[in-house]
Amino acid sequence: MTASDSEENKQIRFDLTTSPHLHSKWSTQKVMWLVVASLAPSIFTSLLFFGLYQLLIIAVAILFAAGTEYALQVMRNKQPTILDGSAMLTGLLLALTLPPNFSLSATAIGSVVAVGLGKQIFGGLGFNIFNPALVGRAFLQAAFPVQITTWSKPHLAVDTISSATPLAAFKFDHVSTEIGPLFFGNIGGSLGETSALAILAGGFFLIAIRIVNWQIPVSMILGMIIFGGVFHLINPAVNPSPLFHIFAGGFLFGAMFMATDWVTSPITSSGMWIFGLGISLILVVIRLYGGLPEGVMYSILFMNAFVPLINRLTQPAIFGIKQGGQNEKSY
C-alpha cells in the first residue's frame, strides 16, 4: 500500500464520495425561498386590500414558526435548520390563510401548533403527513371558530359588499359574487386568498420553474369543473357554477401553494392526479352539503391522510416487470 508521495498531491485533499459527482442546481433551501418569493404578490395584495396591520400577522406567524422550529430542534439535540426556510414558509402560508385583522396571540398559537404538532412531532422536515400550515389553521378554526370566521371588509371594496366572504354570502344568504372582484380580490376573505390574479402570478412562476408539479393544480381545477359542473347542471339555482367555486375562497391558493406541498402530496404523477381530483370532490361536497361554507383546508388535510395509500396504489412497476405481475421471489 504505497500512498503516493509526490509533491503536488500533498497539498490537495481529494474528496472521497460515491458517485454521482455532479448534482443538479436545486437545494431544498433554494426551493423554499423561491416559494416565499412567489408569494410576494399575494402578500402585496393582502396589504393593499386589508391594510398594513396584516404585516404584523405575517411577521408574528413567521417569527413563531421559526422560533418553534428552532426551539424543538435544539431540544432534540439536532442541528437547527431554520435557515432552510421551510418553517418560515409554513408560518407565512399560515398567515395568508387567516382572516384580516386576526388576533396576534391566536396567530402565534397557530404557528406554534403548525410547526410543533404539524411538523416537528413527526420528525421535522419531510416526515410530516399533514400540511403543517393547514394543521395550524384547522387547529385555530376549531379553537376559535368565531374569531376565524369574522371577516373585515377590504379597504378597496368597489361596492358595499358586506364583510361576509363570497362563500358565506352564498351559503347563508344565497348571494353570488361577480367573477371580477373575485379575480382581483377586493372582497372579503383570508389575507392571501382574495386576489386570484396574485395567486396565479406566483403559481405560474412556480410551475414554470418546475417547483410545483403542474398535475396537482390542473387536476384540482379539472376536478372542480367536473364535480362542480355536475352539481351545477343538476340544480343551477342552488349550486353555483364551477367558475365561482374556483375563484371563491381558498381554492386557488390551496391548489397552487398548499396541495402542492412536496412533503404531503403523492410522489408519483398518477398519484397527483388522484390527489387533486379527490380534493375537488370532497371540497364540492363540503361546500354544497356541509355546515361550513368553505372546505379547502379540510379537503386538503383529508386527502393528505390518503397520500400513503395513493403512493402505494400508484407505485410504478419496476422496469421490466409487467404491470400487475408481481416480482415473485421465492426464498
Binding site: L22, S27, Q29, G320, Y331
Partner: protein
C-alpha cells in the same frame, strides 16, 4: 424521424466540448506500471511471471482463471519488480504486478487474422486470448458475452455509441477516427453470434458521429444507426435496448433474454484490433478532462500507467482541482491515491474543481418525488435509501433494491442532496449478504 428514448432520466450539462475535437494522442509508457490482476469482472487472473521476470509488450503476464475471467498482457517491455498490493481506482488494494519499464519498444503480438475468412470459434478464442473486456464500464469479459447459451435466441447486436456520461468523448472519437474498426468489430461480433442484424445506438448530441457512421453503413442492409435522445443514462444497457427495441429486460435477466447482445464501440475496436493486428488489450483509450486539468485531451495510454502520469501528460492539475474521478462523473469512482493505474476499461479521468464538487448541505427527504420521476428503472430511490438507513434490508429487498444499477440519476436530481446511491449501494450489499445467508441456511 422520432427520436427514441426511455422513461425517466436526466440531462446534466454535457461538457463534451472540452475534448470532443481533440484527436487521440498516444502516450508513451512511464517508468513504472501497475497491472492489477482484477481488471475485469469475475475471477482474479493468475500471474505467470515472477519477481525479476523480463517481459515484452504483448506478453502474457497473468492467465485467466476459469471461464469468467480474462488474461492480462504486459503493455510494455521491462522487468517485473514486485508482486504485491496496489490501490486501484476502486479505492481498495488489489493484487498487482509491478513492472519497471526499460524503454524498449518491441512487441510480441499474436498473429493477425483475416476478418473475412476467420471462423466464429477463432474469433471467440482470439477475443478471450487477447483479454478483451467490455469497454462500456463494467469490464465484463467479452468472450463470455460472445458465448451465449445455445437456447438463447439472439436477434440483434447493438453497438452502444451513446456515451451518455458528461465529459467523456472517447467513443465519439473512436467513431470519428476509426469508423472502419468500429464497423469491422461489429461485423465480427455478428459473425461470432451468427446474427444478421446490427444496430448502432448513438445520442443525438453527436451529429458528426451519426453522419459518419451512416455514411459507412449506407450500403449495408442489415446494419443501421438508430439516433436516440441525449439523456442520461441512455447508454445503460437496459435503457438503450428499451429505446431501440421497445423491449424491457426484466430484473435479474440479461439482454440476451430479450434477444439482444450489446457491446460498446470501444469493445468493437478492441476486437477488430485483436483480430487484424493480433494486439491484446494493452492500451486504454480514454478522455482526460474536467476544469481541473490544464490541457484536456483524448489519449491512448498503456494499461497500468499511474493516473498521475496521465495527468502530468495533460499538463497537470490546476490550482483549484478538488476531485479526481476515474470513469464518468455519474458513475465513476473518486480517487485518493494517484498512483492507482489506468485499467483496461478505464474510459476517462476527470478532474473536477472546488466549485463543482462543493458539497451542498444535506437535508432530510422532502418527498418531492423527483428521484422517483427520474429513476429509469422505476424504483423508489428515496425509500430504498431510507429503508437502508433504518436497517430494514428485507423491506428494501422487497421493493427491489437489488435491481438498482447505481446510475446516480436519483442522487443527481435530489434537491435535498441525499447521497442516495451511497445508501442504496450499502443496502444492496447487505441484501446480498442476507441472500447468501439465506441460501446457506437452506442447504
Amino acid at each position: 424521424m422520432t427520436i427514441k428514448t426511455f422513461r425517466g432520466g436526466i440531462h446534466p450539462p454535457e461538457y463534451k466540448e472540452l475534448t470532443q475535437n481533440s484527436v487521440f494522442e498516444k502516450v508513451p509508457a512511464p517508468g513504472q506500471i501497475f497491472l492489477p490482476l482484477t481488471q475485469h469482472l469475475g475471477r482474479q487472473a493468475i500471474p505467470v511471471v515472477k519477481k525479476g521476470s523480463v517481459v515484452t509488450a504483448g506478453m502474457l503476464v497473468a492467465q485467466a482463471d476459469g471461464f469468467i475471467s480474462a488474461p492480462i498482457h504486459s503493455p510494455v517491455c521491462g522487468t517485473v519488480a514486485n508482486l504485491g498490493k496496489q490501490i486501484t481506482s476502486s479505492g481498495f488494494p488489489k493484487d498487482t504486478i509491478t513492472i519497471i519499464t526499460n524503454g524498449q519498444t518491441e512487441a510480441a503480438f499474436m498473429s493477425p487474422m483475416d476478418p473475412e475468412t476467420i471462423t466464429p470459434d477463432d474469433i471467440r478464442k482470439r477475443v478471450a486470448d487477447a483479454g478483451i473486456v467490455g469497454q462500456g464500464g463494467a469490464a465484463f469479459p467479452t468472450s463470455v458475452k460472445l458465448t451465449p447459451p445455445p437456447e438463447k435466441l439472439i436477434e440483434f447486436v447493438i453497438l452502444n455509441g451513446c456515451e451518455c456520461e458528461p465529459y467523456l468523448t472517447r467513443d465519439y472519437r473512436f467513431m470519428l477516427e476509426r469508423p472502419d474498426a468500429v464497423i469491422g468489430g461489429l461485423k465480427l461480433i455478428l459473425k461470432v453470434l451468427g446474427v444478421q442484424k446490427g444496430i448502432m445506438g448513438i445520442e443525438n448530441n453527436k451529429p458528426a458521429a451519426i453522419e459518419k457512421m451512416k455514411n459507412y453503413l449506407r450500403d449495408e442492409k442489415d446494419l443501421s444507426v438508430v439516433v436516440v435522445k441525449t439523456k442520461y443514462p441512455q447508454g445503460a444497457e437496459k435503457m438503450l435496448i428499451k429505446a431501440i427495441t421497445g423491449r424491457e429486460v426484466p430484473p435479474g435477466k440479461l439482454p440476451m433474454d430479450v434477444g439482444a447482445v450489446m457491446q460498446n464501440v470501444g469493445t468493437a475496436v478492441a476486437i477488430y484490433d485483436a483480430i487484424t493486428k493480433g494486439e491484446p488489450l494493452i492500451t486504454a483509450a480514454l478522455t482526460v478532462s474536467g476544469k481541473g486539468i490544464k490541457n484536456p485531451k483524448n489519449l491512448i495510454v498503456p494499461v497500468g500507467t499511474p493516473i498521475k502520469d496521465v495527468i502530468d501528460h495533460c499538463g497537470g492539475l490546476t490550482d483549484n482541482a478538488a476531485k479526481i474521478i476515474v470513469g464518468g462523473p455519474m458513475m465513476g469512482a473518486a480517487q485518493y491515491d494517484l498512483s492507482s493505474p489506468v485499467m483496461k476499461a478505464t474510459s476517462g479521468i476527470l478532474v473536477l474543481t472546488k466549485d463543482e464538487v462543493e458539497t451542498k448541505q444535506e437535508t432530510t427527504c422532502v418527498r418531492c418525488g423527483k428521484c422517483v420521476e427520474v429513476c429509469p428503472l422505476n424504483l423508489l430511490p428515496t425509500r430504498l435509501a431510507r429503508l437502508t438507513q433504518l436497517q430494514r434490508y428485507e423491506d428494501a429487498e422487497m421493493i427491489g433494491i437489488t435491481v438498482c444499477m447505481e446510475c446516480g440519476t436519483c442522487a443527481y436530481t435530489c434537491p435535498s442532496n441525499i447521497p442516495l446511491v451511497q445508501w442504496i449501494r450499502l443496502g444492496k450489499q447487505k441484501v446480498f449478504r442476507l441472500q447468501k445467508e439465506r441460501s446457506a441456511s437452506e442447504n
